[in-house]
């Protein structure tokens, strides 16, 4: 039995406060703030929520802690924690739960104060006797090794990686909520402080506070609410490894599995997608995902992004919020990846709005290219 295209829709979507939050703010404060905003976005009330989905590095029992804070007693809950793509998984699982009547209004929420408390404190690394002794700077070094392999096999260059950061920055300058406010050049990316070769600090995502919430319900109920529904047309989830030394091929991610699953369910193909929201933890990741999700052949991602191809005015709009590289990256960024896709389908993106955006693909990445989850959203015309 498989999930049904368009059976559920996102009806509410909101960020918490982003960037640098006040001292002593908790991750759950951010989740709750975003939840209230998302409820306001759709006109539902706290008491309507009967499904809670959450994961957070600073809150081990996220669905339970959030339910306590909001004093909601969910009929259904799920704390799937697979890194930054957890929330795409939550959407898939919420869809299954709603289809089966296990809940009707699902909340997916996230919060992090990693800038305030430090990344090391917010996301302590697990000890691994086969990796920890070598002191990789994780997760950066894992993505750096993937980049090294892509450069070796496919001739990808540091300049092409930098193109991704520059495109993200150009989009960010169109987004008032973006953390970064100044222009960025390829040269600046290349000359920035090296973190883990070939990645400089400008090839790496931001370390900021933030969170978000989205609310899903059945397609039937969605039609009765404030804003036009953003339907879940397709979902796909895939795990390939946990540690980078166990990744089968560092140049091919499990997006090559999650993407086709989502396309099959949505009855769509890459060329039907109007806008992409790709988890850009590092500049190499959108390059890998453009390939693995079928927007260019394997190995061509670096060449694909050249000359502003994914920047404003380019041939394919990618990460219009400014992405994890320039807008916001609060530790696990997947929820915000989806919020931007939802807003594009709604037509709420003002200066950065993609014209006639009816199909948006949100792709989440977790761990060290370990978990890959794809969600395809569509407007009313797609149903």
């Amino acid at each position: 039995m498989s999930l049904k295209r368009g059976s559920v829709a996102v009806v509410g979507a909101a960020e918490s406060d982003l960037g640098q939050v006040a001292q002593h703010t908790s991750p759950v404060d951010l989740m709750a703030q975003a939840t209230l905003r998302a409820l306001d976005d759709c006109g539902l009330k706290l008491a309507d929520i009967d499904g809670v989905f959450s994961a957070a590095t600073q809150v081990r029992t996220a669905p339970m802690t959030l339910a306590e804070y909001l004093r909601i007693k969910p009929r259904y809950f799920d704390g799937t924690a697979i890194g930054g793509s957890s929330f795409m998984s939550h959407v898939a699982h919420a869809q299954a739960a709603i289809e089966h009547g296990l809940c009707e209004v699902a909340l997916v929420a996230y919060g992090s104060t990693q800038r305030s408390v430090s990344r090391a404190a917010a996301s302590p690394r697990e000890f691994n006797p086969y990796e920890t002794p070598y002191r990789p700077f994780m997760p950066s070094s894992a993505y750096a090794m993937a980049a090294s392999r892509h450069m070796h096999q496919h001739g990808t260059t540091r300049e092409q990686l930098a193109e991704v950061a520059v495109a993200a920055r150009k989009w960010a300058l169109l987004n008032p909520k973006a953390w970064e406010k100044e222009p960025l050049t390829i040269e600046q990316v290349l000359k920035a402080r090296m973190v883990s070769y070939p990645l400089t600090v400008r090839d790496c995502c931001l370390v900021v506070d933030g969170g978000g919430a989205i609310i899903l319900t059945s397609a039937a109920r969605a039609k009765t609410l404030k804003k036009k529904p953003v339907y879940v047309l397709g979902v796909g989830e895939s795990l390939s490894h946990a540690n980078i030394s166990s990744m089968p091929d560092l140049t091919v991610t499990a997006a090559a599995e999650s993407g086709p699953k989502a396309y099959l369910m949505a009855k769509l193909k890459a060329s039907d997608v109007n806008m992409l929201s790709l988890y850009d933890a590092f500049t190499i990741t959108p390059i890998l995902f453009l390939e693995d999700l079928g927007f260019c052949p394997k190995g061509e991602g670096g060449r694909f992004v050249m000359n502003g191809a994914i920047a404003p005015g380019g041939k394919l709009p990618v990460n219009t919020s400014g992405g994890g590289l320039s807008y916001c990256h609060p530790g696990m960024y997947g929820l915000l990846v989806m919020i931007e896709a939802v807003r594009q389908v709604r037509g709420e993106c003002d200066k950065r709005q993609v014209k006639n955006c009816e199909v948006a693909l949100a792709h989440g990445n977790g761990g060290v290219l370990s978990s890959q989850c794809t969600v395809i959203f569509g407007g009313p015309s797609t149903i």
Partner: protein, 169 residues
Amino acid sequence: MTLQDLNQQSPYGTFLEHCKKGELAYQFCRDDGKAVFYPRVAAPGSGSTNLEWRVSKGLGTVYATTVVYYKDEKPLNVALIDLDEGFRMMSRVEDIDALEVKIGMRVKVRIHPGDEKQPPYPVFSPLLPEEGSPPSDSHRTGGRSGTSPLHPGERGGGEGRGGGGGRRT
């Protein structure tokens, strides 16, 4: 089926005992002839417990590499090494400038003694050309550089690769 008695010894414990003797150990599955690394209580995928410990010859090829720039430290290499017996591990290549470690480079293991906090662990150093060439069955899968013996995605070895590489312990 005989599962390892975890009250007596752990997979990492056995690995570490070998490190203390100056050896890089891995497991070999007698059922399918494939190398298993990191060490486990059962072979991944099949769940077979028909595993034996072997000592690697310690020859391998750099699969991926990076250089970490920690504040006030000299640049640190971190690499993934494909061992000739058909398994991959994280390590670092020493005795060479960290940025000079290249994909496809042939390397040889030695055991770093560690310190009070860190038990002994395997590291690698570049191999001189006459010290050992890649396994003979891998010439057909050479990478872009012409020196990489493993094709992307092709690891774990087959019958021919995993079988003769190490010695039993």
